[in-house]
């Protein structure tokens, strides 16, 4: 939650599966390896190993295994002939595995859903390449592509079109940006200069990642919260040690310096646990929850508590709980 993008956060992703490679994993690689070599005029051992994510030694073992395939009947013969002398792979005979296996439903769907999502990103100059690729992939996938229509990612179009164009332009030209940016958690309109690093499209939402000169650190800015922006006539200079957000760890990562906030939620306030990354979520029965989360700025917690009313109580820290009561009392004074 260190990001200026603030409240809406993605939970941390699960760990990747680390199952060991199986015989069928290797079979898939072998079946792809032969057409990979055949479809290219000349391929070296090193490049091919890199392309398949294996060591050269493993690759040579794969090639030997292919070369050794022998069918014994009706007459014994070796259907695959290849060599890798001098570090260059040549397949001179490969029978029927000279073409890759067709795409499976999951494979076709994963790629098609991703391509269609990209095609929805407003202002993508690659739109024409995307629609051509989608059409070609649909044709090649055939029936395997059909199920992909049942999964869709809708990209938010809330960001002004010219904001996206300007961000991409500034990224391409490596120029500094001036932003008027709304931080809803604090109900603050902020002005800042940002040296752009990347445009992120995560779960359909678009963010600018950049070096914020005011905060002197890397920040994410949700583009739909950009109130106004201009590209400055200044070259961007992102410090060499600026760490881009590791998307595999989730967009919003609390820091150890953040304040730990404890909240109790009624069944009507449970949505809070869905919206914000919590350190702990504990069921209290009857749909009630006790959650803890970390935040660098308790102002948004106070706003959240006002919004929740009796459906959410700040338990700790006590001074934040006190502030929330003061906020409510001050607001109620205007209604008397």
């Amino acid at each position: 939650m260190t990001a200026e993008a603030g409240l809406s956060a993605a939970p941390a992703p699960r760990e990747p599966s680390s199952r060991p490679a199986t015989a069928t994993d290797r079979l898939q690689r072998l079946l792809a390896l032969v057409p990979y070599v055949i479809s290219r005029n000349a391929v070296g051992l090193a490049d091919t190993a890199a392309a398949f994510g294996v060591t050269e030694r493993q690759l040579v073992d794969d090639l030997n295994m292919l070369w050794c395939v022998e069918l014994r009947a009706p007459d014994p013969y070796c259907p695959i002939d290849l060599s890798y002398e001098g570090g260059e792979i040549v397949v001179s005979q490969a029978e029927s595995i000279d073409r890759p296996l067709r795409l499976g439903v999951d494979e076709a769907s994963a790629l098609l859903v991703a391509l269609r999502m990209l095609a929805e990103v407003p202002g993508m100059e690659e739109r024409s390449a995307l629609s051509r690729t989608i059409a070609k992939l649909e044709a090649a996938a055939g029936e395997a592509g059909a199920a992909s229509a049942q999964v869709a990612v809708q990209v938010d179009h809330n960001a002004a079109r010219d904001v996206l164009d300007q961000v991409r332009g500034a990224l391409a030209a490596s120029r500094r940006i001036h932003l008027s940016y709304y931080v809803p958690g604090r109900d603050e309109a902020t002005e800042r200069d940002v040296d752009p690093m990347r445009l992120l499209v995560v779960e359909g939402r678009t963010y600018l990642e950049g070096w914020c000169l005011r905060a002197e650190s890397v920040r994410l800015f949700r583009l739909d919260r950009v109130m106004a922006m201009s590209v400055l006539d200044v070259a961007a200079s992102v410090p060499g040690d600026a760490q881009p957000v590791d998307l595999d760890q989730g967009l919003f990562r609390p820091s150890a310096d953040d304040v730990l906030v404890l909240l109790e939620l009624s069944a009507h306030g449970r949505w809070v646990a869905e919206y914000y990354p919590c350190e702990r979520v504990e069921e209290l029965g009857e749909g009630r929850l006790r959650i803890s989360l970390r935040t660098p700025d308790t102002r948004w917690v106070r706003r959240l508590a006002l919004r929740l009313g009796e459906d959410g109580k700040v338990i700790a820290p006590p001074e934040v709980a006190d502030q929330v009561r003061e906020d409510a009392t001050a607001a109620l004074a205007h209604y008397e």
């Binding site: 290797r26 029978e95 309109a189 779960e203 006002l306 205007h334 209604y335």
Partner: protein
């Protein structure tokens, strides 16, 4: 063991692909090295091998070359096996590489990588490299995503425990899923609710525990013309904002509200405040929103909105 199995499966694929005709188990056993001597042991192993090849998507067919053949035969049709020709221009290959990155470590990451590998094997030079400056990602961290995708893909009904908004306990729901949709950064499943007997949309993050299949593959028929995105959009859409609120907003505050105001003028009574008019639909939700601004935004009209904000604020003190 694993190496010998890979060798055997590879030989089996090459054998069945190159013969062009159906081969009986006996013929296969004679041709493919690596099977055990005992016929029963061979049969068991061959059955497992067939299953594994089919799981990889290899179209292994069963049939016979003529009606006179009593023993069933097996073959892999080259036509069914091979990826049709596909050629991509460099800009197309670049976006394909970008698309392959989207799932990265999420549910379909392995599938995307496998698909990309086959396309590269077809001669396409697509790398999983980032375009300068753009990084697209789908995370699908909801545990239910994997099972629901499989159910949608295989057209199987499912059951799951679901905790609807504001409900104190989860309820078991039975659904014929039509599709999975991400909207505003959240995943939903749309389908035919078997208990309510009408289309329903569920948020994946509110599914409590595992999703179980409740029928065989192919049991679900998606009604022709169904647009799952539209189904979710219609469910999620805000009701039309038909009512007008008058809010008193402190100067320099309430930016989120000011952006949506249809009218805004200085408060004639007090120059530190503005009077803004905004459209809203749901009183409860809007009162929560107004309350979140504390003493910076005061609801003046309508009376039910004003009362609801006061209730919210008193609830804080309760």
């Amino acid at each position: 063991m694993s190496r010998r199995k890979t060798e055997r499966l590879l030989s089996l694929v090459v054998c069945l692909l190159s013969s062009g005709r159906f081969l009986t188990a006996t013929q296969i056993r004679a041709a493919v090295p690596g099977y055990p001597d005992s016929f029963d042991a061979f049969k068991r192993m061959f059955e497992r091998d067939k299953d594994e090849l089919r799981e990889l998507g290899i179209p292994l067919e069963t049939g016979s070359n003529s009606a006179a053949d009593e023993e069933p035969g097996y073959r892999i049709s080259r036509q069914a096996y091979m990826l049709p020709d596909i050629r991509l221009e460099p800009d197309e290959a670049a976006v394909l590489g970008l698309a392959a990155r989207v799932w990265r470590r999420a549910e379909l990451a392995g599938a995307a990588a496998g698909g990309l590998l086959k396309l590269r094997a077809a001669g396409i030079d697509a790398e999983e490299t980032t375009q300068p400056g753009i990084e697209p990602r789908l995370q699908a961290v909801e545990a239910a995503f994997g099972s629901l995708w499989q159910a949608v893909r295989d057209r199987r009904p499912v059951t799951f425990a679901y905790r609807a908004a504001g409900r104190s306990s989860p309820q078991v729901r039975r659904l014929e899923p039509w599709g999975v949709v991400n909207r505003h950064g959240r995943w939903y499943v749309a389908g035919h609710d078997l208990d309510r007997a009408e289309p329903r949309v569920f948020r994946l993050s509110r599914i409590d525990g595992p999703v179980s299949f409740a029928g065989p593959p192919g049991a679900v028929t998606v009604p022709p013309g169904t647009d799952v995105r539209q189904t979710v959009r219609a469910w999620d859409a805000d009701p039309p904002a038909l009512r007008t609120a008058v809010l008193r907003i402190r100067r320099g505050a309430g930016h989120g509200l000011r952006q949506r105001a249809t009218g805004c003028r200085p408060d004639p009574v007090d120059g530190d405040w503005d009077l803004a008019e905004l459209q809203f639909s749901d009183v409860g939700w809007y009162a929560d929103h107004v309350a979140s601004f504390g003493a910076d935004v005061i609801a003046l009209e309508p009376a039910d909105l004003r009362e609801a904000v006061i209730r919210r604020l008193k609830g804080v003190l309760a």
